[in-house]
Structure formats: structure tokens, C-alpha cells
């Protein structure tokens, strides 16, 4: 309903100015048709008001539309400038002809009206009038003279009868036809008329009476009430007695032929003067009507220009707006069109294009979603792989690096993307061997390759098994290479550990057995021969035997250590309070070595640690002994042992730090920290840290060694703590070693 009202209003808004224009046109035609008529039309005023009202409506409508158009131009709405240009051109081409016609018509009308009046005719009429007036003047003059003579003959001293007789004797058919003696107030004293049936004499007017009294006489041709003329003469008479004043009124008729002629001359002259006088008004009326027509034409031209511009530009504006929306990404656009012309064809084409774009966009969106799903799936797969995967474009730039690759290579997440291998190696030096290997293999041009690469991130050795393949190129892919690598460090370590265990077992088995007979043989030799040799030889024998015994003992310890390392220990897990265990071990060291200073910073418990106390005691012995021996014989060794609980993402950890103030681990040890027989001590077996790693590994923990920046060496052990539901209710006592 509201929409219908709106449409109705819009239709009225469009139709109303046109109706107003038609009213103006009609009114103008009425005025033109009646301008020369004799009618007395009282509706002229209303017609004029209506006309002005219609013009005002037209003007307001145009002003409103022009203002709206200017606002659109200022806002740079699509099509507004085209519409403004259209209106301007329309006016430029339509106004000058209208103005030319207007001025030419005005000039033509004024000249034509002027030509209606002939100067000679006017002069002739004027002369006729003057002739008539001259005749009347002459007749008046004659009447006055005659009246003067009669006035001199009147016997005022003889009484009214004598006067009346004199008057009667002087009236005649040619004049005067009526004589009357009047007193100063105009009342009749005596009268005589040629017509015996005549009424009382017609009295003079105030003006004539006054003139007669003041000037002595009055003579003038006067119109009668019936369209004729007569001459009235008033003559002041000499006073017979003091104070008495009389006027003699004489009425002289004009011949009927003369009266008819003067009447005709007067009527024609008057008619001509009337028309001549109306000439100016006539021209004004024509100019006014022409101006109305011009205004009507101009306003209608403007209105037509505005309407035509709107009709022409509206579909183009709709198209422009729809195009802008399509350009902004809103492809589902349709333009209404009501015509079958070129604009309609353009709108149809646009709608077809819009539909095609929407279809293509939906297909593209569907494809993109599918690709995105595939990409996400691939990303998930790559992210779930434990192996590192990296892809390179033909120029050697990293295109993709999965999470495992970043983890294995110790790279910050996302930083390596888009870098070349050389740039990556420049930024992260430990990746250099891998970069060199990949570069070398790619340059060789082999489709598939495999090579073990050794990296040393943070001073630790990491062994990677890298396999590379060339990616084939296509229309949409540039090709490149894909490299997959696994961290096989643990695998290698396990293999080495197994080898070392086998060696240790064989050593323990092959070497340990002969040691006891060797020692016994040496002691027996010393005992049998000691007494039989001289002092010098006996002394040499004694030293040699002692040396053999000592070396055998050292060899036995070494073999025992190898045995410990090779032995597959069956853990006896039980709740252990690590702080108490540490204090017990430290107490033994403090008692036995006064040069050893140990600081403790232990957390309580912690509750829940399930471990083999014997193994942990061995672990502590090895770590403390290592730290003590790092200080050198006889020097004061300062150790710091600390424990703390560390909350991890999946599990909690017990962290044990053993730190000394010595020179730190040598680079060789840091490179292969837990490799058996890698030691920095002359008398060391090289199995201490290896045994530590074995104990920690048996407890599912981690161990690492490092040299802190502020000096010394640090061994850090991390043992897993069970979840709260799996812990014991109290802190148990550790098993005595």
C-alpha cells in the first residue's frame, strides 16, 4: 500500500508540472483570443493568478529537479554529469531560437499595431472635430451677440408683464427657442418659449450660473440629455435698482442636420481616439501574453530536458551502480529495463554477464574450497608426519616446511618460508650441511637421492637421513624438489649403544676371567722368590708385583664398569623421595672429602616419583664424581645441586641440576656427550656419563649437559612424574644403597 502511494506520488509529481504547463497554455490561448474583444470578463484576474501559480509550480518543480541534479553531480553519482550535460546542451540549443522568436514576434506585433493607425485619418478626424467646434463657437458667438442685444431691450423697470411680453416677442423657431429671466439663485422670474407645450425652462448648472453672475455672461454649446446639442447663453442684466441682479437665459437649438453631423464626427473621432489610446495597452497585453508563452516554452523546455535526461540516464545510472557493485565483489546484480532499445540490450547483456559471473564465481568458490580442503588435508598430513618435509621451487627457495622439519632443524615456526637454502644457511648456521647436501644433490640432477647428514645444533650432534625427489612441473606447477628427512640420531645412538654393550660384555667376559690368575700368579711369584733374591732384586720384584696387582685391579674396575654398562638392569621402581636421597649421598661426600662444598636447593619430595633408588644413587654418584673431578686434585670444588618441579604440556617433570664451577665440558664431550669412552679425564673410563644416560633412559627421562654462559658445567636430568591419580599418598623413604 505504501509502495502504491509512493508510486502515485511520484506519478503526480511528474504529471503535475505538465498539467500546470497545459493550464498556462490554455490560459494564454484564451487571452490571445479575447484580447481584442469587447468583453468585460471578470475572471481575468483569476486567470492571471492561475497562470502565475502554474508558472510558479513549473518553476519550483524545475528548481527542485535542478537542485537534485546538482546534488547528484556533487556527490559524483553515476550518470549525474551525463544528465547535467544533456540538460545544458538541450537548453543551449533550444533557448536561443525561442528568444529569437520572442523578440521578433514582439517587434512584429508592435510594428503591426502601430501600422493600424493612419496619421492622415487621425488628422482628418481632428480637423473635422475642430470644424464642428468652430461651427459651434460661431453659433455660440452669434447667440451671445443676439442675447446681448435682447438684454439691452428688456424693460426691467416696466414690470414682469412687460418683460414677459418682450421675451415672447423675441422667441422664434431659429432661436432663441426659449428665453427666461432668472434671479441670482437660478429661479425663474419670467419665461417665454417658442413651443407652447414646453415645460419649465431647463435651469443652468452651478458652473454656468456662477459664470454668468461673476463674468456677466456665459455662452456655451451644451449636450442635451438625448445626444443633441444646444447653445445656452446667460447674460447679466443691468440692475434697475440697487441690489437687484437678473440673468437672461437664452436657449438656441442647432439644426438637426448639424447635430447629426457633429454627433457623427464626435462618435468617429472618439472611436478612433479610443482605439489609438488603447494601442499601448494592446501592445502591453500582447507582450505580456508573449512573455507568458516564452516562459511556458522555456520552462517546458527545461522540464522536458530534465525529464528526458532522467529517462535516458536512469538505466545507465543503474548499470553504472550495478557495475560498481560487481567491481566491489557483489556479483549478483540485475538491472531492470523497460525498453527494447540499445539501453535495454545493454541491460540484458549486463544481466547475462552478471549471471555468468555468479556461476563462474560459485564454481571458482567451490573449486577454491575443494583446494583449500585438500590443502588443509595435506597440511594435516604433513603436520602429523614425524619426518621433516620441505619443498623447494626450481630456484631453490623454500616453498613449504612442515612442523616436524622446523622441529628437527630447530627453526622458528614460519620463518624459513620464502627463503632460499643459502639464506636459510646464512641465518641458521647449523642447517648449512643440509643446505649444502640438498644443493649438491639438486645440481647433480638426480631424480631421487638419499644421504645421511650430520647437523650440530647447539653443539649436539643430530643425524638426519635425507631423501630427495624432483617434482615434475606442469602448466600450473613450476616443479622443484621435495626433501624428506628423519632424525635418526636416536637410532644411531641405539645402534652404537648396542655395539658398545656387546663390546663391554665381551670385555667383561674375555678380560675379567684371566685377571684373577694373573694377580694370583704375581703374588705367588713375589712370595716364592722374595726370600731367594737379593735385596735389590727383591725390591724390584716387589715393585713389579705390586704394579701388576695394581694394574690388574684397575683393569678389573674397568671391566666391572663395562659390565655395569652392558648389564640389562631390571628396574625395581618404588616411590622415592629424591631430596632425601640427595642429602644422604651428599652427606657421604661431605664426610669423605673436606675440599668438596655442595650447596643444595631442593624442592620437597616430590611426591610420586617412581624410580629405582639404587640406580638413582648410582646416577648421583656419577654426576657428583664427575663434577668433583672437574675441579682437579686437591682443589676446592663447589657444587650446586638443585631440584624443582616443572609442569609440562602433557606431563610434569622432576628436574635435577648438578652444576660445578670448573672449566666446563670440552667440545669433544659436548659433541658426543654420552658416547662411551669419550672422556676428558686421564684416568676416566669414559663410561660415567654413558651410564648416567642409560639410567635416565631406563627411567624414561632425559639428560643433557651444557656449559652455562656464566661458567662451569651443568648436567640436567629430567624424570617424568606420574599424574596425580597414580601417585602414592605419602613420601616414602628411599631404599638404602
Amino acid at each position: 500500500m505504501a509502495l502504491q502511494d509512493q508510486r502515485l506520488k511520484r506519478a503526480l509529481f511528474r504529471v503535475f508540472p505538465i498539467l500546470a504547463a497545459l493550464v498556462v497554455l490554455l490560459v494564454s490561448l484564451v487571452l490571445v483570443s479575447d484580447v481584442q474583444g469587447e468583453g468585460t470578463n471578470r475572471t481575468y484576474l483569476w486567470v492571471l493568478v492561475l497562470t502565475l501559480l502554474a508558472l510558479a509550480i513549473l518553476g519550483l518543480s524545475i528548481v527542485s529537479r535542478v537542485a537534485s541534479l546538482l546534488r547528484k553531480v556533487r556527490r559524483k553519482e553515476p550518470g549525474a554529469r551525463l544528465a547535467a550535460r544533456w540538460v545544458r546542451n538541450f537548453l543551449v540549443f533550444s533557448l536561443p531560437p525561442a528568444l529569437i522568436v520572442y523578440f521578433f514576434s514582439a517587434y512584429f506585433l508592435t510594428r503591426t499595431i502601430d501600422n493600424w493607425f493612419d496619421v492622415q485619418v487621425e488628422e482628418a478626424l481632428q480637423d473635422s472635430l475642430e470644424l464642428g467646434q468652430a461651427f459651434l463657437d460661431q453659433r455660440t458667438l452669434d447667440a451671445r451677440n443676439q442675447s446681448r442685444a435682447l438684454a439691452d431691450e428688456l424693460p426691467l423697470e416696466d414690470g414682469r408683464d412687460a418683460v414677459r411680453d418682450t421675451l415672447l416677442n423675441n422667441v422664434s423657431a431659429t432661436g432663441p427657442v426659449e428665453l427666461a429671466l432668472l434671479n441670482p439663485s437660478g429661479s425663474v422670474v419670467a419665461t417665454a418659449s417658442y413651443d407652447p407645450l414646453a415645460d419649465l425652462p431647463e435651469l443652468p448648472g452651478d458652473y454656468a450660473l456662477l459664470q454668468g453672475l461673476e463674468r456677466g455672461e456665459y455662452a456655451a454649446a451644451e449636450p442635451t440629455g438625448h445626444g443633441g446639442l444646444r447653445v445656452r447663453v446667460l447674460q447679466r442684466l443691468p440692475a434697475p435698482r440697487l441690489g437687484e441682479v437678473y440673468l437672461l437665459q437664452s436657449i438656441y437649438p442647432l439644426p438637426e442636420s448639424i447635430t447629426a453631423l457633429t454627433g457623427s464626427i464626435e462618435a468617429e473621432y472618439f472611436r478612433y481616439r479610443n482605439v489609438a489610446f488603447l494601442r499601448g495597452s494592446l501592445k502591453q497585453s500582447f507582450i505580456l501574453i508573449l512573455t507568458l508563452v516564452l516562459l511556458l516554452t522555456v520552462l517546458l523546455a527545461i522540464l522536458a530536458a530534465l525529464s528526458a535526461a532522467r529517462r535516458m540516464v536512469t538505466p545507465l545510472s543503474d548499470l553504472a551502480r550495478a557495475t560498481q557493485r560487481v567491481a566491489a565483489g557483489d556479483l549478483d546484480q540485475a538491472v531492470e529495463f523497460r525498453t527494447e532499445d540499445e539501453v535495454g540490450f545493454l541491460a540484458t547483456s549486463f544481466n547475462d554477464m552478471s549471471r555468468a559471473l555468479v556461476s563462474a564465481s560459485e564454481a571458482a568458490e567451490e573449486g577454491r574450497a575443494r583446494l583449500q580442503a585438500q590443502g588443509e588435508y595435506l597440511e594435516t598430513v604433513l603436520g602429523s608426519l614425524s619426518a621433516g618435509v620441505m619443498t623447494l621451487d626450481p630456484g631453490g627457495t623454500l616453498v613449504r616446511l612442515n612442523t616436524a622439519a622446523e622441529s628437527i632443524l630447530d627453526l622458528p615456526a614460519g620463518l624459513a618460508h620464502g627463503q632460499s637454502l643459502d639464506e636459510l644457511a646464512g641465518s641458521f648456521g647449523h642447517v648449512q650441511p643440509l643446505a649444502e647436501t640438498i644443493g649438491r644433490q639438486v645440481r647433480r640432477g638426480r631424480r631421487d637421492w638419499q644421504e645421511e647428514v650430520r647437523l650440530e645444533p647447539g653443539g649436539r650432534t643430530r643425524v638426519l637421513l635425507a631423501r630427495g625427489s624432483e617434482l615434475p612441473g606442469s602448466d600450473y606447477l613450476d616443479g622443484g624438489n621435495v626433501v624428506v628427512f628423519d632424525d635418526v640420531t636416536i637410532l644411531n645412538q641405539a645402534q652404537r649403544d648396542a655395539a658398545w654393550a656387546e663390546v663391554a660384555r665381551r670385555l667383561a667376559h674375555e678380560v675379567k676371567n684371566p685377571l684373577t690368575p694373573i694377580r694370583l700368579a704375581a703374588e705367588r711369584l713375589r712370595m716364592k722368590l722374595m726370600d731367594k733374591l737379593g735385596a735389590r732384586d727383591a725390591d724390584m720384584l716387589d715393585r713389579s708385583a705390586n704394579t701388576i696387582v695394581a694394574q690388574v685391579e684397575a683393569l678389573r674396575k674397568l671391566v666391572d664398569a663395562f659390565g655395569d654398562y652392558a648389564r640389562d638392569t631390571e628396574l625395581e621402581r618404588a616411590p622415592v623421595a629424591l631430596d632425601e636421597l640427595i642429602r644422604e649421598v651428599v652427606h657421604l661426600y661431605r664426610q669423605g672429602d673436606p675440599t668438596l662444598q655442595i650447596e643444595l636447593d631442593l624442592c620437597e619430595g616430590p611426591v610420586g616419583l617412581q624410580a629405582d633408588a639404587v640406580q638413582l644413587r648410582q646416577l648421583l654418584h656419577n654426576l657428583i664424581r664427575n663434577a668433583r673431578e672437574a675441579a682437579g686434585e686437591g682443589e676446592v670444588a663447589r657444587l650446586h645441586i638443585a631440584t624443582r618441579r616443572e609442569t609440562g604440556a602433557e606431563t610434569d617433570w622432576l628436574v635435577l641440576d648438578v652444576r660445578d664451577q670448573g672449566p666446563g665440558f670440552p667440545e669433544a664431550v659436548l659433541a658426543k656427550p654420552f658416547e662411551p669412552y669419550v672422556t676428558f679425564k686421564p684416568s676416566g673410563s669414559g663410561l660415567g656419563l654413558a651410564i648416567c644416560r642409560k639410567i635416565v633412559a631406563d627411567h624414561d627421562g632425559q639428560i643433557e649437559i651444557s656449559n652455562p654462559d656464566d661458567g662451569g658445567a651443568l648436567a640436567r636430568v629430567r624424570l617424568p612424574l606420574p599424574e596425580a591419580g597414580q601417585r602414592g599418598s605419602a613420601v616414602p623413604r628411599s631404599r638404602k644403597a
Binding site: 479575447d34 481584442q36 468585460t40 492571471l48 448648472g205 449636450p223 472611436r271 481616439r273
Partner: protein
Amino acid sequence: MDVRARGTSLQVRMDQELRLSRPATRAVRNGVPLVLELDVEVRDGANLTLVATEQQQFEIRYLPMSEHWQLETPDRAAPRTYPRLRHVLAELSELRLTLDAIPLAPGDYELRTRIRLDLASLPAPMQLPSLVNRTWRHDSDWTQWPFRINA
């Protein structure tokens, strides 16, 4: 103004001042007759209800042959002539009207009069200019005069 009731008629005496503008005088000298309309209304004094109305026309002409002015009034069959225009206007300034056949009950009344130049009686070419030209406005305001009809 003076109003007197005589039976069913009203005797009205009006004194007023009339002047013609220069264009109007020029027009009448050029043969355009001027028509003056006198509107008279009788209204009830209490509620101003219209009781009776009367309109009279006076026509002024100029006669160039005798150079006299002619005034045609509704109360006389023949027009009267005057040697000067001012005599015509003086005649119109002192109007004596008789409004006949007006049955008025005893009470208070109000007589309203106005006089104006009838532009519609002008020749057609003059009507449009006279509508837009103020010098052609010869309209007096309404003049009220209360009077009483006694029982």
C-alpha cells in the same frame, strides 16, 4: 454618512472624496468610459448577517465636441453634463440614495458601502495592464454606519 428609514425604504446620504488617477483621467479623455460601482450592504447589527444588498453603477464620459463631461446615474433617465471633471466628481461625492423595498424589523443594523472602479468594464486590451498596474486601483474600503429602526 446619514441613514434614515422611511417606511420600507432607506434614505442614505453619503459624503465622500473621489479622485481619479492620471491614467484613468487620460483614458476617459480618450473616449474610455469609466464605470464606478457603488456596493451597499445592510447587515444585522448583532450578528452581521447580510439583510439586503444593492449595487449601483455610475458612468463617466467625455464629449470632445462640446468639451463637456457626462455623468450617467441610475436614478435619472437622461445623463447630466458638466463643463469640468471636478464637477462630476463633486456630484459623486455627495450621493443621495434611496434603497427601496427593504423590509427591516425594528432593531440595530449596519450599513456598509464602498465604491470602486469597475476594471471589468474597461476595454479588453486595458484589462490585463489594469490588473497589474496599481494606478488603476480605485477601490475604497468598506465604510460602516450603524443605524436603528424603531418600532
